[in-house]
Amino acid sequence: MDITLPILILAIPITMFLILGIGGVKMSRKMAGVLGILGMGTTMTLAYTVAFTYFFSGDPAFILDGVRQQFQVFDATWLAFTEKLVVNIGFLIDPISAMMLVVITTISFMVHLYSWGYMEHEPGFQRYYAFLSLFSFSMLGLVVATNIFQMYIFWELVGVSSYLLIGFFYKLPSAVSASKKAFIVTRFADLGFLIGILVLSYYTDTFNFQALTSDPSAVLSTTGGATFMGASVLTWALVLIYVGGMGKSAMMPLHIWLPDAMEGPTPVSALIHAATMVVAGVYLVARMFPLYLVEEGALTFITCVGAITAFYAAVVACCQIDIKRILAFSTISQIAFMMVALGVARPDLHEGMGYMASMFHLFTHAMFKALLFLGAGALIHAVHSNNYTEMGGLRKYMPITHWTFLIGCLAIAGIWPFSGFFSKDEMLAAMFANDWLWGAWMTMVAGLTAFYMFRMYFMVFWWEENPHYKEHKPHDAPWQMSLPLIVLAAVSCVAGFIPFGEFVTWNGEPYHIHIELQVAVTSLIVAACGIALAAWLYMKKNNKPAAMKNAMPVLWQAANRRFYWDEIYMFITHTIIFNIICKSIAWFDRHVIDATMDSFAKISQKTSVAIKGMQSGNIQVYVLWYFFGAVILAAITWICLL
């Protein structure tokens, strides 16, 4: 493949970032917006070209005997620390990175377009577009990384752009603290990632993905059977690397930053905190999947964490008022779904279908969750509030938003023929194949998903009209915002029919998707029950919800407060860590380290005053010093030596 396109895919967004970041202040809003959108549009076209070439050209570099190959477009030495420790930077193209290129650029382009309408009146419009470009660059660099170190670097860059965008409204204290929270929590998780990378590369002498995954059993043998606390070092490395993924993908107990991240502008939530960045953890596991297969302990860990998170987030989502928070918890739940699907995938179970299903769901979820977030943005734009209590009955006022949002809800609930149905069906089938327990558990979560999504849908678009509408009539958003909604809704309608297994599988061999009737019917029935329950409770104004809330106040309150995770964190950090550990360290710092430095300063100052006479300005004295210096030097050496 020609090297130009891949380089341009990375170069255009970073150039846009530099142009908008440095020159943005002097640009008009229109100029900045057009530049950003054009840049992203071009990147999208290029990414499509690359993905299309990869999937359809039939070049033997890409597909050999029907098996899709990993292909490094380039892989240049970047930092050569020692002979072994070499960090490369390159561009890897394989089924999942090609798919991610399409997903990222599509959603990013939609968000660029949407933001033009949504952010129109916000100060710092140019800065916003600069950050969006930076994020797109980082995310693209992450998915095409040829080695785990490059991925780590872009991983952190993604974290930084996320931090910048969450804190975009930096005058709001809540936005600032949310951005800090997101950064610190993910950074903390990345510590695990980094240690994992170091352990892995220490034993394997390579960062390169191809080298690591092409022959995983050889990698295992390089560890020489070393163990640590009862588990092999490879398991440790993989679990630690997964901890990094847990942070970015908001798995329990590191999920606490994602709901708060909703303080950022809504399009940002759609791009970063729903469609692209938060699936980085899933992508990471998928990228190293052959290694995980060798160490099934790590996969079981992933499955368990995913299953618990999925259920927890779904329950919490049932009791939130803020529509963006509901979507945030829904995102956590859906990502956990993907994680479970990856965790249960085995080559001998439906040819590793779980992997394919997970990636399929990543793809469809990106589309419909971005759609839902952008729809939520349109609602917030119209009503100027995040809470559904301020909404209700909006279907008459905002038909475009209503219909697209409904499509999004149907897709996430898993109703045929919308895209979510297909991917969810594959995932559930894979889970049932592994163990019926996983299947049943996750089917229940799918039912909860349908329930809370339609609870929100009915509360927003049905229920009772808010009396404020008379003073301030809500209306559909301008075309820049409606167009992405329509496009994404259309994609969500048809994406399920993509023969995804032909493109993305764990080992590159095509897999023919077929609907598992049993699973499909079960999940459809469960989803329909969830929707029906939601309709019964929330379609018309009534006091059933209030009665339910009053019937179990403790549970409702706990779910509403997210089962007190934030309070637990506060207790651990503020009460325990800050008081006990930090205070003693601070004492040490002040009385030992600072004191040492101060003594240097004092001694230097005093000596400096004491010896200033040496520099008298008299040439005679200079020469004396000179001569006696040489003589004394000789004398001392003489005495010491003889």
């Binding site: 230097s604 000596t607 400096s608 040439i619 004295v621 200079y622 040489a630 000789a634 001392i636 003489w638």
Partner: protein, 491 residues
């Protein structure tokens, strides 16, 4: 006589050629044409440097081995040439002043003459040639220091310089006469090394070592041979000061390395490691302690350069190939950092005549770019990452720790503590420029094109030299080629 051996001396011949061209031009050109002296020298010198870089690549020696021009010598000459080029560019504005009208040519001629001497110092493998080089470098420098002869300070500085230089030469000669006696009548480094290796450790050898150290220590301003530095740096024209602080030091440091490793290598570490050990600690510490108190920028830079010379000497005490490499690298980085600082100092001096650190207060408001360049230079001198100075310091420390001796670890520790102290006074300048709340003393002005060009070279060097690893790698490769021959005498 075999004249073809002169072809080994291409660098010297090129400098000499430029010298003659400039001299002839300055003598015979008309009044107006002579204004082009500076530009002519600079351009010729730039071309000459490129020529040296590309023509002198073959290791050569001549005059029966008195003169050697190997890879490392060539690399150092190119590094020094780069520094001289920057000095030339930076001084263009100063030599353009009406005051300099009649003396402009002399400045360039003297400068090239000293450089010629330094080349000989670097390439010498015979003490006679070394002394000739040293004197050829010293005497024109005295004239240069006295260049503002109408200013008392300049005259005083020159007097102090020439007297100390004469005295140091006397000490050096005394030492060399002992060396002559020791070696049984030869002044070749190789012969001296043989005699030193075979003979017993004698008092004469120690005295000879101490005196030779003193003689070269003068050029490097090692403590206690440094006392002239502050007065001379302050009194000399700023262009000359910057020349003294980097070029003169760089060449002397290299000659020092060669002499101690080649001629006295056999008595390392017994005799001179401890001598050098004491000198380095004294130099770094005393330089720092005096630098803390200075308010005049040129005096401040003088003591800073004393302290920096101590760091350069760390490469000598390491006495290995890494030490040589990191010393050359340190000199290169030091050239960029120090000349960057001097570029700002002279730009401000040329514009306003102000030289006190207090005059730099609030400079960022009136001259942000100058403040930026100065800040980078200070950061680099202090060794703050990611600027070049950080890398050069870390490399030179690494070279010292390579020999795994406890005493040398202690030395590095002391050097590190001194780095902290030096951070204080370098940051004083930065603080004055950026943090002091006062209104700027120096009003906003635009530096001349040449000044800006010189500063941009330095800024680029400070930012990129450290980050671009091939440069260190290249020096390292060349040094490794010469190392077996170079370090053969080490005990």
């Amino acid at each position: 006589m075999d004249y073809s051996q002169f072809s080994a001396m291409i660098p010297e011949l090129i400098v000499l050629g430029i010298f003659i061209l400039v001299f002839l031009f300055d003598t015979f050109a008309g009044e107006t044409a002579r204004k082009a002296d500076g530009m002519l020298t600079t351009v010729l010198f730039g071309l000459g440097t490129v020529a040296i870089f590309f023509t002198g690549c073959m290791p050569k020696e001549c005059f029966g081995g008195m003169y050697v021009n190997n890879h490392i010598e060539l690399v150092l000459k190119c590094i020094l040439n780069l520094g001289v080029f920057i000095v030339l560019v930076q001084s263009l504005k100063w030599t353009d002043t009406p005051d300099m009208k009649l003396r402009r040519g002399e400045f360039y001629e003297l400068l090239l003459a000293t450089l010629f001497g330094m080349y000989l110092m670097i390439s010498a493998r015979h003490f006679l040639l070394f002394v000739i080089g040293l004197e050829t470098a010293s005497l024109p420098l005295a004239a240069l220091v006295a260049f503002n002869k109408k200013h008392n300070e300049s005259a005083e500085a020159a007097a102090k310089y020439i007297m100390t230089a004469v005295f140091s030469s006397a000490v050096l000669m005394m030492g060399l006469s002992f060396v002559y006696g020791l070696s049984g009548g030869s002044l070749y480094y190789g012969d001296v090394a043989n005699a030193v290796a075979e003979g017993p450790m004698s008092g004469m050898l120690i005295v000879a070592l101490a005196f030779v150290l003193g003689g070269i220590g003068f050029k490097l301003s090692l403590v206690p041979f440094h006392l002239w530095t502050a007065d001379v740096y302050q009194g000399a024209p700023t262009a000359v000061t910057s020349y003294l602080s980097v070029i003169s030091k760089g060449s002397a440091a290299f000659a020092f390395f060669i002499i101690f490793v080649q001629a006295f290598g056999a008595v390392y570490p017994d005799a001179w490691e401890w001598m050098l050990y004491a000198i380095i600690i004294l130099t770094i510490t005393v330089g720092n302690l005096f630098a803390i108190r200075q308010r005049n920028m040129k005096r401040f830079m003088a003591f800073s350069s004393v302290s920096q010379a101590g760091y350069i000497m760390l490469g000598v005490i390491a006495a290995n190939a890494i030490g040589m490499t990191s010393m050359l690298f340190y000199i290169l980085v030091y050239i960029f950092s120090n000349l960057g600082a001097f570029g700002v100092i002279s730009a401000i001096e040329n514009q306003t005549g102000r030289l006190s650190m207090d005059d730099y207060r609030g400079l960022h408001k009136s001259n942000p770019w100058l403040s930026f360049a100065m800040t980078l230079a200070m950061f680099s001198l202090a060794g703050i990452p990611p600027f070049a100075g950080f890398f050069s310091k870390i490399l030179i420390f690494t070279s010292v720790t390579a020999s795994n001796s406890m005493a040398l670890y202690m030395l590095v520790l002391i050097a590190l503590i001194n780095t902290i102290i030096s951070l204080y006074y370098y940051l004083l300048v930065v603080k004055a420029m950026w943090i002091s709340p006062e209104e700027p003393v120096v009003s906003s002005f635009r530096s001349s094109g040449s000044e800006r060009f010189g500063m941009w070279i330095c800024v680029a060097g400070i930012i990129f030299i450290g980050l671009v690893s091939p440069i260190y790698g290249l020096i390292s490769k060349l040094v490794t080629e010469d190392a077996p021959q170079l370090l053969a005498w080490l005990g």
